[in-house]
């Protein structure tokens, strides 16, 4: 299944999806040296985002978050690609500076289409998201 999306940062990547329906802050929520979600009590606390396709609702948090995105990328622990409902400028600045392929405004609700563990391909240059394989065949 191919879904059209709006380009935030160009590039192509594929991998396993991590899905979070809330707003995400690179500053405070994630450790830039490991790519692990560290905020106490966060729904995804302990999850490692490195090499995943990270699907979330929107960016939030302080402007320093864009620096963390860049550090994640430099440290080799950034998500491979990002899919969100609607990006905002701090998150966008981070992914653009870090070169993480990113799309938003999908033609279908990504939370209905993409489940945790699905193998997803993101062509952010062309603005196409594709669910290649289901992580859980029952979904």
């Amino acid at each position: 299944m191919k879904i059209k999306a709006h380009t935030v940062c160009e590039g192509v990547a594929e991998g396993e999806a991590v899905v979070y329906k809330g707003a995400f802050s690179f500053l405070g929520d994630i450790d830039p040296s490991t790519g692990k979600i560290v905020f106490p009590g966060h729904e995804l606390e302990g999850t490692i985002l490195a090499d995943k396709i990270f699907v979330f609702a929107s960016g939030k948090g302080s402007t320093g978050g864009s620096r963390i995105a860049w550090l994640l990328s430099r440290n080799g622990v950034a998500p491979r690609a990002i899919i969100c409902l609607e990006s905002e400028p701090v998150m966008a600045c981070g992914v653009i500076a870090a070169g993480i392929p990113t799309v938003d405004k999908l033609e279908r609700d990504p939370f209905e289409v993409i489940k945790v563990g699905d193998y997803v391909r993101v062509d952010a240059s062309k603005g196409i998201v594709e669910v290649v394989a289901r992580g859980n065949p029952k979904d």
């Binding site: 560290v38 929107s58 960016g59 620096r67 409902l85 400028p89 966008a92």
Partner: protein
């Protein structure tokens, strides 16, 4: 995206490699948000070089020259950390890096205001003025409390704007985007005896409820809300959410009445806030497993002279058990010194720094302080609570200013749940 001749020259590398890289970043950002063109900033408020990884700092400033007035957000003061004996083992490397970056910033002609509350220094844009502004706390304060046109921007793009003097024309730089679709209604709350902590908690909750980067209007608060309360209310919103413009009905310049804030919009989302939401948020901001308080931090955002006066009044002739940080700009600290407040606070064991008192609190960051790191911090700012727990990773107590001071004096947290 249409560029002027000068902007195209920047993009083509004719103004040096740093300016070219900065312009590339801004053009990509502008494209992602369908900006038609760039605008010239009237001045810039830049992130501190201390927060920019050195390789990125060198990459984007290479060959750049002064282009406009640029002021700075708080940075590090590693020489003072060393002098106070709170620094970790890699302090000499940090000092060397700080000095290298400082020298380049000096060559760029930056004014080292080093504060997240620059309006307290009298540097305030006029209503409608377009400023390249770094720091989510400066962005929301300048937009909301002064009516200048400031778009939410990340640290690296904020830096790029200060190198090029340009901002993509998008978001809150466009007048019709400054109205709101989200209305927060304060109900069932008696604000008569509120201090800044309650306003901060309220703002934190509202920010967390707004989806994405939407503007919000708040009704139900007294008109002409005092400055320190208005500021405490709006500042946590871009930490718990991505709000960058908050209209306080009856107080802020673009929202003297509700219709002015809404424009032609009808509210799409209504957020009702009462005692239950305040209690839950207050509880969530407290993240600790024992009641020992080793440190108290004020100044996220940087303290006003009135706040420093209130702290000094509580500390007259007393001695803190916990260490105490007062985050304030150098000019406000100087006024506190003239006033006699600084002496009282320092005799009680307090330290003044024009640093970030939450994300980069030198007492609480393990990577700055090493084995000297404090393991628990009490704060009266919701924004500070969120970052102290998340970034510093230490026990975090959130309460009123008086509860924090009491905890610092006794070394124990007695602050309980939310009270009006």
């Amino acid at each position: 995206m249409v560029l002027t001749e000068e902007e195209q020259e920047m993009l083509d590398g004719k103004k040096g490699p740093g300016v070219q890289r900065a312009m590339e970043l801004l053009v990509k950002l502008g494209r992602a948000f369908d900006a038609e063109r760039m605008v010239k900033a009237s001045y810039g408020h830049a992130p501190s070089y201390d927060f920019i990884p050195e390789d990125f700092w060198n990459f984007i400033t290479e060959g750049a020259k002064p282009i406009m007035k640029v002021t700075t957000h708080p940075g590090f003061q590693p020489e003072r950390w060393k002098e106070w004996g709170i620094a970790g083992p890699n302090i000499d490397e940090m000092i060397a890096e700080h000095r290298r970056k400082h020298e380049r910033a000096r060559q760029l002609g930056w004014l080292f205001t080093n504060t997240c509350a620059e309006y307290l220094l009298g540097i305030i844009p006029r209503k409608g003025e377009m400023v390249a502004m770094h720091g989510s706390c400066m962005q929301i304060a300048t937009n909301s409390l002064y009516g200048a046109m400031v778009e939410r921007a990340g640290i690296l793009c904020g830096l790029a704007s200060c190198i090029t003097g340009r901002i993509p024309l998008m978001g809150l730089m466009i007048p019709e985007n400054r109205h709101t679709h989200v209305l927060a209604m304060v109900e069932d709350l008696d604000v008569t005896n509120w201090s800044t902590a309650q306003y901060s908690c309220l703002g934190y909750y509202i920010g967390s409820q707004v989806k994405g980067k939407k503007n919000v209007a708040i009704s139900g608060l007294p008109e002409n809300l005092p400055f320190d309360f208005s500021r405490a209310l709006v500042l946590p919103m871009p930490a718990s959410g991505a709000v960058t413009l908050c209209h306080i009905i009856g107080t802020t310049p673009e929202a003297l009445y509700l219709e002015a804030a809404l424009g032609d919009n009808k509210p799409e989302q209504i957020i009702k806030v009462g005692r239950r939401q305040m209690k839950e948020t207050w509880e969530k901001l407290n993240v600790y497993d024992n009641d020992k308080v080793e440190h108290v931090a004020f100044g996220c955002p940087h303290c006003t002279i009135d706040e420093i006066g209130l702290i000094a009044a509580k500390l007259e002739g007393k001695k803190m058990k916990a260490s105490l940080l007062i985050g304030a700009s150098v000019p406000v600290e100087a006024l506190a010194r003239v006033q006699g407040y600084a002496d009282v606070i320092e005799r009680a064991g307090g330290h003044f720094l024009s640093c970030c008192a939450s994300v980069a609190n030198p007492f609480a960051r393990k990577d700055f302080s090493g084995d000297n790191q404090v393991k628990s911090v009490a704060v009266e700012s919701a924004r500070a609570a969120y970052y102290t727990a998340g970034v510093c990773g230490v026990n975090t107590f959130f309460g009123t200013r008086d509860q924090c001071i009491e905890a610092g004096l006794t070394g124990r947290w007695k602050g309980g749940e939310y009270e009006d």
